[in-house]
Amino acid sequence: MNKIKTDEKNKKQELVAFRIGTQEFCVDIMSVREIRGWTPATAIPHSPKFVRGVINLRGAVLPVVDLAARLGLPVVEPTARHVIIVSQVGEKIAGILVDAVSDILSLDPNFIQPTPDVASQVARSFVRGVIDLEGRMISIITLDTILPAMDREAA
């Protein structure tokens, strides 16, 4: 705990950066449990399109969210080169399907700029801020709402 606090004071935040198509995104490294290659998922009946299905992660049944579909980007059929970022999403653990992991960033939170006011509703609800890094723009993704809201669906 203390360490994280001092890190915050030292104004360094670590992020895992990844790519979907031509866009770059990143998530807080603290929410990432592991990174693994794509394995075929078992479809879940009645699930939204962005849920690829579930995979077996050492005995645990894990949903995989296709982040491209979730963000409304062009969807491609995943190959063995695609990557699943296993992350903590609230109480649950989910896999996030992305094209490739590109970098681990360590940066000053002051570098994070507010999300530009774009029209895309999806972009606004998942992008927490953007980073200008040597001319690249990287969007910080919040994973909290990445899974479908099951309670609403059940009701």
Binding site: I44, H46, K49, V51, V54, N56, G59, V61, P148
Partner: protein, 717 residues
């Protein structure tokens, strides 16, 4: 104080066990066995609760337990005859006692009048003065403390009015103790920290100065020690000098056994009252040598057969308390091992060249071992149904009181073991069925006598293993189901057509229909919002089935067949398109290969199938769960005939049946959420996840328009 809280929790766990023993003992007495063994077991249970409660200053509990104990003591000494009235009162006292225990456990204020009426009844029976005489039974113990000043800056306190446990500790260090740099004064200070000490040093053995060996130990001490802690805590003070001293800890608090008892009884009782409270987890194995009677296995304890017999002549099962989470983790791990083993086997065989018999044999052995391991681990979670059945006896007493009926509970097969979760989830439906049985099933005493039956009705509760499942039956010897009344009621409520002609079995099954209640007036016992339909649904949620049989004037029987565990399930593995699914075997009636001429279209896109001489709806599972579009021409494949809740039959159409096997149930809700049509997930031999289909929702959803499903999708995105 965490440790204190843990000890307290242990006390309450033990209370539960004592209450179970107590109730079981009283019921045995009620059945006519009033041998001293039984009475003593009952007495000890109350006494232990009282003793523990005293240590935690639970005054209400102590007060009530004391009155109860006094009455039991009279029964024990033969001055009070254990007649039916007294036993009834005592059983009522058990209820009060358990109320008091749970009230104390929750830490709330215990209302002193909980047991007031029962205490009054006791007082009437015992004569006045039973309530407060010698609650503090140590007050009159006489001892003269001699305080020695060891130069401790804080002088030892004067012994206060004794309270809690009292011990006499005789302590004589050997020479070796001092070699290990142990100081008696450290021990005494530790004791002082725990309670009030009065230390008496015996200097008689000190030789003359000329003979004195400076390295020898000549002193011994007698310590009168009063503490709120139990014997084990006291003994722990001396833990580091064990073996290096002569140590005797005598409990002065144990009541002196009445004179007409043999010594062994007094000893037993003392051992019992001092029996060490098992330490919080992780605890060493706590043997309970005092319990000669086979006590019921503890609710959250793991029962391990003791290989060696302890002090008592009969072998006593040794138990350890284990955190349930650890057991569940073990079960999960073994589940994964089973999956892994299956994967390994599948891969080895797929890689070819396993004609080499060594590999095949080893794999087979591995399979046997993992299966054995899985069974043993599952057995850890298995618990006898006894505590559940005993809870029911309280329900019966309450309902009998409320309805003015005379009821006796007869139980059979209490030792039958089922998964703990199943037992927990069974409590509510069983309670409801028992209430129903007494309230609706049994007649009033007058009616019974008029019908030529004994005034006292009997509710039977039995459990038995039958072909890999547990069958629990609740039956009454009442009037049986009043079929004309049931039918009329169902017709009035529009549950069946007014002109329907139903068989007896069909009428009986009407009881399970939602919205059905036969009681002309809704009583507050069984006519509440929950009906038999809820019972049926809970049983089915457990993977069980419930059936009913009834004979006019002879009574009714509800029979439940339940799986032994919720961790695994027998199912058939089916293929639909390129995906595999599991259908639970419990729902399946039969599988058929339909010939095209037996499939008929009915309306728009729906099909029915002829099964012998009736037509059943044919459900294309693939289309139903949305993995392929509905087709307009009769689909091909294998039909699986399933039966659901309301006994309606449906045929599920799948592409092929791949296998029948036991699968480990994995929750889909942990990381995802509830999904319609899917009960859970499992991991198959190839390491992939497969969905276990929920036949009931699949069938009841068949009328949903696809449009609704699209809507639901739109809502979530």
């Amino acid at each position: 104080m965490d440790q204190m809280a843990a000890i307290r929790e242990t006390f309450f766990q033990e209370c539960d066990e004592q209450l179970t023993t107590l109730e079981a003992g009283l019921i045995t007495m009620e059945e006519g066995d009033t041998s001293s063994d039984t009475v003593n077991a009952v007495f000890r249970a109350v006494h232990s609760i009282k003793g523990g409660a005293g240590a935690f200053k639970l005054n209400e509990l102590v007060g009530f337990a004391h009155v109860f104990e006094t009455a039991l003591d009279k029964v024990r000494s033969g001055t009070l005859a254990p007649d039916a009235d007294l036993l009834k009162l005592m059983l009522k006292s058990v209820d009060v006692l358990s109320d008091l225990v749970s009230a104390s456990r929750e830490g709330g204020e215990v209302s002193p009048d909980i047991g007031a009426s029962v205490i009054e009844e006791f007082n009437d029976l015992l004569g006045s003065g039973a309530k407060h005489d010698d609650v503090d039974e140590f007050a009159d113990i006489d001892f003269q403390p001699l305080i020695i000043d060891f130069g401790d800056p804080t002088p030892l306190a004067e012994p206060e009015k004794p309270e809690g446990n009292q011990f006499e500790i005789k302590f004589r260090p050997f020479r070796g103790m001092f070699d290990k740099a142990n100081e008696p004064i450290m021990l005494f200070r530790e004791l002082q920290r725990l309670g009030t000490v009065a230390i008496n040093c015996n200097t008689a053995n000190i030789p003359t100065f000329a003979e004195l060996d400076v390295n020898e130990s000549y002193l011994d001490w007698t310590i009168n020690f009063t503490t709120e802690f139990n014997r084990q805590i006291v003994a722990e003070v001396f833990e580091f000098v064990e073996g290096d001293c002569e140590l005797a800890i005598t409990d002065l608090a144990a009541p002196i056994a009445s004179s007409n008892e043999i010594d062994i009884e007094a000893l037993m009782q003392r051992v019992r009252s001092q029996s060490p409270a098992p330490a919080p987890i992780p605890a060493p194995v706590v043997a309970e040598p005092a319990e000669i009677e086979a006590l019921p296995v503890k609710p959250v304890a793991v029962s391990v057969e003791a290989k060696t017999s302890t002090k008592a002549s009969a072998p006593v099962p040794a138990t350890i308390r284990v955190d349930l989470e650890r057991v569940d983790r073990l079960i999960n791990l073994v589940g994964e091992l089973v999956i892994n083993q299956a994967m390994l086997t599948q891969r080895v065989f797929r890689s070819g060249n396993v004609t080499n018999s060594h590999v095949a044999t080893s794999l087979e052995e591995l399979e046997h071992l993992t299966r054995d391991l899985q069974e043993s681990v599952m057995a850890i979670r298995a618990q006898p149904v006894r505590p559940l059945f005993q809870r029911m006896s309280r329900i019966i007493r309450e309902v009998a009181d409320a309805t003015g009926k005379e009821v006796r509970l007869k139980t059979e097969g209490e030792a039958t073991e089922i998964d703990k979760t199943v037992i927990e989830l069974l409590a509510d439906p069983l309670t409801h069925m028992i209430r129903n049985g007494v309230d609706h099933g049994l007649e009033t005493p007058e009616e019974r006598v008029a019908a030529g039956k004994p005034a006292e009705g009997v509710i039977r509760l039995s459990a038995a293993h039958r072909s890999g499942r547990v069958v629990i039956e609740v039956s009454d010897d009442g009037a049986g189901i009043n079929r004309p009344k049931v039918l009329e009621s169902a017709k009035r409520k529009g549950l069946v057509a007014p002109d329907a002609a139903l068989t007896d079995a069909e009428i009986d099954n009407l009881l399970f229909l939602p919205g059905f209640s036969t009681a002309a007036t809704v009583s507050n016992i069984s006519g509440r919002s929950v009906g038999m339909d809820v019972v049926k649904r809970s049983i089915q949620a457990l993977g069980g089935r419930i059936t009913i049989s009834s004979k006019p004037k002879a009574g009714s029987t509800f029979s439940m067949s339940l799986p032994l565990t919720l961790a695994v399930l027998d199912g058939i593995v089916v293929a639909i398109d390129d995906q595999t699914f599991v259908i639970p075997l419990t729902a399946i009636v039969e599988t058929l290969q339909p010939s095209p001429e037996n499939i008929h279209p009915l309306g728009d896109g729906a099909f029915v199938m002829r099964v012998r001489d009736s037509f059943v709806p044919l459900i294309d599972v693939g289309a139903e769960i949305g993995i392929r579009p509905r087709s307009s021409k009769p689909p091909n494949g294998v039909a699986i005939l399933v039966e659901t809740e309301n006994r309606s039959r449906n045929a599920l159409l799948v592409d092929a049946i791949l296998d029948q096997r036991q699968v480990v149930i994995k929750s889909l809700e942990t990381n995802y959420g509830r999904t319609e049509g899917v009960a859970a997930a499992t991991i198959l031999g190839d390491g992939r996840v497969a969905m276990i289909l929920d036949v009931d929702t699949l069938v009841s959803n068949k009328r949903h328009e696809p449009a609704q499903f699209e809507e639901a999708l739109a809502k979530t995105s």
